[in-house]
Amino acid sequence: MSDKNNTNKSSQIGGATPGPRLTVRRLSKRYGNVQALDEVDFELYPGEVMALLGENGAGKSTLVKILSGLVQPDSGAIEIGGRPAVLFPSTRSQAAGVAVVHQEYSSVPKLTVAENLVLGQKGVSSLWLPRRLNTRARKLLSTVGLEYLNPRTLVEQLSVAEMQLLEIARLLVRDAQILIFDEPTAALADREIERVLAVIKQLSDEGRSVIYVTHRLPEVFRVADRVTVFRNGRSLPTKPTSELDVDAVITMMLGRDLGTMFPARVAHHDELLLDVDGLLATGLSEPVSLSLHCGEIVGLTGQLGSGASAVVQSLAGMLPLQSGRVLLGNDNLLLGSRAAALKRGIAYCTADRKKDGIFSGRPIRENLSSPWVRSVAPNGFISRRLEIERSSEIGSRFAIDVKRLSATVSTLSGGNQQKVAVGKWLGAQPRVMLLEEPTRGVDIGARAEIYQRLRDLCASGVGIIVASSDTSEILGLSDTIATFYRGRMTSIKSHEDWTEDALVREVMHQEAAA
């Protein structure tokens, strides 16, 4: 897919660069007591992709907000093309040629692709003649590898990757020269990531400058020419990607080694906890059989739509069971009802915390207590004391500031929100814990925290099933690993029998075979 782009790659990057397109000098921004940005410096050259890395809360989002004109910096200077520039408010930022692709898509689902491509664009007649719109749309779509798409398609029918690419096409209309990608691949499977990365390469080949914000390190080495790391609101000197490797980048981000990212494994009991026999549900093309022991972590991995998450969802009672039998202990488990599964002690942490993992407008304490509030409410009246006690206990285990439990959960960073989404189940004393993409869009510190707590949970005899498209996570965390492809389980082995390479190949390799 990326072959075409590689042919004319780096014709401009290696050449003599006339000078930075964007210069940021000593940029600072303070929110209340928190210094979000502290004299940040970097330069962005024409035709380059610069990766911007850092933990959650390191200042990346603040920088993106400043560059896109949503927030005014307290001090510091921004130059575009060597001239001082003011980017606030966002109309000025746009006029200066800055465009941002956000994590959340701004396309209107109920409108067609062509209509979305004229939304908010100047210089387009407000008379939306379908034929004119569609002709225009085809031209734009081809610039982002979506030429096969019918411009009349409703946006809600597109895949996530296609929406992402459409988003990019919308920015290209404005002829933006500085493109900022804010974790564009967070919700994509490997193959779709490939498409987005190919388009990004192509855009930089055309001479545009790209700032690429991400949590996924492998992508950095695939697209980025240089890397800037933010740590605690400060910027480290920008380095060429060729001088770095994954370990070096992680060390820069953390300021320490990552040896302890994954907790040590503990020998699990032989006691069978969950016996899945011939499970067949929506999203699975072949019956799946696997077993989970007390204290064991079973990792299911595959790309989006592989069936790994379908297994988890049907065990959680979210999908109707078509056939098969699931034994929890000695009891036959009735599937197809979330409430019934919960009653039997099956906790379920979903993939998309904003959608169905947290109550973002409610206090952290209410979020933490939501699955077990009944247990602190004799006679139906909630005991404040018990609720505070138990949620504080969970909060402190997950290093969430317990003094702030009455603040709404939306005031937390993504990583801490995820800790809440996982942690709330601890109080429900589950027998089986199911998780989907447990650390998507979560910084490394919070990830380590979550992994450790999951291990702790195992120590108390709980069995855990994790479905994730992040193979390194599955490899580092699981005792037993099953791979999925297109609705069937392709292999299941102990973690010792897997290497990262083998696992990635197993998940990807099937593509050629199919």
Binding site: Y31, G32, N33, A339, R362, F381, G445, Q452
Partner: protein
Amino acid sequence: MSQSSEEGKKFSSVFREKIPVVGSLEVLMPYIIIGLAAVAIIVSVTITPSFLTADNIRAILRNASIVGIVAVAMTPVTLSGNFVSLAISQSAMLAMVSYVALLGAGWHQAPAILIVIVGLIIVGVIQGFIVAAGLNPIITTLAAGAIIFGVVSEMTGGWIVLAGENFVAWGSSNVVGIPIQVLIFLVFTVLVTLLMSRTVIGRETMLVGANRATAQIGGISFTRVTVIAFVIFSVGLAIAGVLNGAAFGQATAVSFPALTIDVIAALLVGGTAIQGGQGSPLRSAGGALLISVISNMMVLNDFSSGGRLAVQGGVVVVVVVLLDQLRRRQVMRL
């Protein structure tokens, strides 16, 4: 293993996040309402000397009571994410007409009141189940209102229903100088507020309104929450109908003409979020009081009824926009 948990702790101290201190809107909201009411009262007192008389204050509270009781009762419906009912006037009218008609047919007070409450609950539960099954609450209640109005009009033939010789006007009595509606309003507000803030069902109502999908995965039943919210709402409607019936001794199919708009206004001015998950019955009570104060001030200053309605609408718009701006600002600061 102990070593690895040591490592975990190290991580946690490194990554413990500094969270910006933000004044929570939830905490501020009641003060905003109280502040607005205070401003309204101060303005009233300065421009209208007759405002601070015992009679007038009693009138304000009595006017606020019926709207307040229903607004408090409807708050759980809104909190649970089921917007508002558009059958408020018709349902309260149904309660009032049936209460008066039962008295007229010779029933005693207690069984008549009981039958009205049970009847209203049945009507409410039916709507609750329909809404829980997935039909839009606006459409459901709009249709329910039309049906109730149609049936009652048919049965009364457009005539005034009278309570007859059985009637005791306890609805206009005072207890220790306080109108009975005001006392019931007070008790009802306290009860529903406690129910929402202290009990499991109240918490579940809030959570379902805040995020229905998350609630479902946490084992909270949307149907249960919705039906119970409609039961509470129906009890409030029944009380309002009975109180007015007991005050006037007669009713028609067009009683409570402006109740729907008044109740929704009180709820919104109180700052309960229309999309659910944020707010409280206490605030709706405050909203009803605020509107009553403003409307009383206008009566004392000889505003026409049209003028009063226009100002009331204006107040709703101003307060809702103000609260919305505050919410936005809060989000921006994060």
